[in-house]
């Protein structure tokens, strides 16, 4: 894993290898020194959200091609964490992904990654090409674990 510290953040270049995801996520979380007051949101929301973004980039974006890489740019601010994940694929249409909680999809093995990102992060946006996702987690004590106030 190539890593570079920049002001208020860091940049990672990952190989397309799903075994690298856990280490990369833990590294990013460890760099957020001021996040300790938001342990639950960091532990669940950010970890799972970033894991999903990296998995999507490697499995679907880069098509598991080990010659392709995934770039992660993280900005650690006083009130939010922003992570931008870019793959080298042709992109996809996020609007075309079906709701995995619909009765006809509930027993399907896949299709929950984007749904979890949207539920667990405060903002999820894609570039026009669909090969770059930006995740934002607000470090606000009033923010619920789950978007929409549906905290379990």
């Amino acid at each position: 894993m190539f890593q570079q510290r920049v002001e208020d953040g860091l940049v990672l270049e990952l190989p397309t290898d799903v075994r690298s995801i856990e280490h990369a996520v833990e590294y990013v979380v460890s760099r957020c020194g001021g996040c300790q007051d938001h342990a639950a949101r960091l532990r669940l929301n950010f970890r799972v959200g970033l894991t999903e973004a990296l998995a999507n980039a490697m499995l679907y974006g880069n098509g598991r091609d080990p010659s392709k890489r995934v770039r992660v740019e993280v900005t650690l601010g006083p009130d939010q964490i922003r992570a931008r994940v870019t793959d080298q694929g042709t992109g996809f249409d996020p609007a075309a992904v079906p709701d995995p909680t619909a009765p006809e999809n509930l027993a399907k093995v896949g299709g929950r990654g984007l749904f979890l990102m949207r539920k667990l992060l405060d903002e999820v946006s894609f570039n026009d090409r669909g090969n770059q996702v930006t995740l934002v987690l607000r470090l606000d004590a009033a923010s619920p674990l789950v978007r929409g106030g549906a905290q379990a």
């Binding site: 669940l44 995995p100 509930l106 093995v109 896949g110 929950r112 749904f115 789950v146 549906a150 379990a152």
Partner: protein, 110 residues
């Protein structure tokens, strides 16, 4: 870190230590399917030592539950912490699995 398999009164217990995510889901699948092929039919996957699960981890549980049911068996999940319960509730997978608070409850009447 990893998956520890043991047997208790005819039930196969699998402890998930660490994360259950895209990077290790196949290892869990392989271990459970080996036991299924060897004739085991009652499975409990225990999450008392688990950090977090991603969508791939949830997916492998759905897949294993289906395969076990097809062989006339049952998969129960136990000891999910609040974070993990949140993930199951968000995805509505809590309606698909039998989830118990403790391992002992999972083994009860199995």
């Amino acid at each position: 870190m990893g998956f520890q398999v043991s047997r208790s009164d005819g039930v196969t217990l699998v402890d998930v230590e660490g994360q259950l995510i895209v990077g290790n889901r196949q290892e869990l699948k392989q271990k459970v399917l080996e036991h299924l092929e060897n004739g085991d039919r009652k499975f409990v996957i225990d999450f008392s030592s688990t950090g977090y699960i991603d969508s791939s981890g949830l997916g492998v549980l759905v897949s294993l539950s289906k395969k076990i049911r097809e062989q006339g068996g049952e998969l129960r999940l136990s000891s999910l912490n609040e974070d993990l319960r949140t993930l199951f509730e968000l995805t509505k997978l809590d309606t698909l699995f039998r989830i118990t608070g403790t391992r002992a409850e999972a083994l009860e009447g199995f």
